[in-house]
Symmetry: C2
DNA sequence: GAGTGGTCTAGACCACGAG
DNA sequence: TCGTGGTCTAGACCACTCA
């Protein structure tokens, strides 16, 4: 049961994984070329590439086209704290976590109308945040707010900081987490392989009048991101509903 | 930017995806064999298999070894509601969602000691839940409770139902969600491809004395599972406590 | 046993990165 | 330009399902 089919690529992946974890292959180091590795393990190139794909899916190595395969630096884990008010992932930013922000004016369409509960073609502001931790991309956020809550002409960075002050207190924050493979665009922007799962979080913030004041689509690389949701003194749901 | 590399497998996947969404290929239907499809699209078998792998990753088709590729029935989405008290995924079970439960006595080791904050080799009860919705596997849960909270000799189903009554009220429930690829075991148990991401939720329940009374490791197939966490009045915490 | 998918081979050609 | 990874080919052999 533990070995449904003893495949070669798993054996190779296990060997390389050991070399990485034992430090024989150090972080940042370049692996031998795929042709060399294929020769060493006596397998064909597709088989060796499948082995590397496994390690890539675990986030252990990074492929750079035209350059080689590199052992990834063990990245700090990203911790998304749920129930939050801040628009982006709110890790304590003691390290150099800088964010590129770009705002766009657009009109509601498609699933955005449902998320924000607005009528089609009503004005929205999209805030696109791409966070970097040093060199490596960290998280991608697309935040949509009704147009009147985000006046145009304000630089993105300022807008993000001020959003919380400009609206009435929130009544409810609902966060939906799901796991999926990244789109092509997300994979390239986050510099992850398209076989590495992402943690996608959709956050809907509603004010006391029931109006949706923010819809945020967050995408975090699955190999180093967690989202925690803490609830204190939860009520017994079954009793509460009765 | 939209077409970094115009690959053939994407074109084939797009075509098949269209056929599925337009109903030309109906749910449950078997696709032509891979050899036939390869001939139809004039590609080699590995290329065609790559195309099918894409659809598999999206949960659109299911491969059954020795039988064929089948269009999957659009499965009801699994909704895991966070902040909960019930041990397993608590979808309103109006449909035939039956769960296989198996309990095992074991002793704490490895990461379990950290999760439950118990000393190594202290007795634990493992409750392994596998839910099915009709034919298709639904979710996998491994629940660990300190041995004294789960007396031996009680059948698993009864134990699960009684757990909530046997312990003091909870003070805190912390849930950590992450996205990753399934282990080989999880992939076979949930009958998903190993390229399909899973949503893994670790739930730690603490009672009022600070003791961990339950650690649950939930695995949900990423193509049809979401986890929602709702927080009301996040700014006005005192009201909720009153 | 016939047909199917699962794995693997040994190449080919193209696209990208760095010197 | 040269070495690298990215994609693809046209097979082979094994394991599984089902009649």
């Amino acid at each position: 049961m533990t070995r449904p089919t003893p495949t070669r690529r798993h054996a190779i992946a296990d060997d390389l994984r050991n070399q990485i974890s034992t430090g024989r292959l150090k972080a940042g180091e370049r692996l031998p070329s795929e042709a060399q590795l294929a020769a060493r393990y006596r397998v064909s190139t597709p088989t060796l590439r499948n082995a590397l794909a496994l390690l890539q899916g675990e986030g252990l190595i990074e492929k750079i086209h035209g350059s080689g395969n590199y052992v990834r630096h063990p990245l700090r884990r990203i911790l998304y704290v749920g129930g939050g008010c801040a628009p982006a992932a709110q890790t304590p930013t003691e390290w150099d976590l800088h964010t590129t922000v770009r705002t766009t004016q657009l009109r509601a369409h498609g699933h955005l109308t449902a998320l924000l509960k607005v009528s089609p073609r009503s004005p929205l502001t999209e805030i696109l945040c791409l966070s970097h931790e040093g060199e490596s991309p960290h998280s991608l956020a697309r935040i949509y707010v009704p147009g009147d809550l985000a006046p145009a002409g304000i630089p993105g960075e300022v807008l993000v900081a001020r959003l919380a002050d400009m609206r009435p207190p929130l009544a409810e924050v609902q966060e939906k987490a799901s796991a999926r493979l990244p789109t092509e665009e997300e994979a390239t922007v986050l510099r992850i392989s398209s076989t590495l799962a992402v943690l996608a979080i959709t956050r809907i913030a509603t004010d006391t009048t029931g109006r949706v004041v923010e819809a945020a689509l967050l995408v975090l690389p699955g190999d180093r991101a967690d989202a925690v949701f803490t609830i204190r003194h939860p009520v017994d749901v079954r009793r509460a509903e009765a």
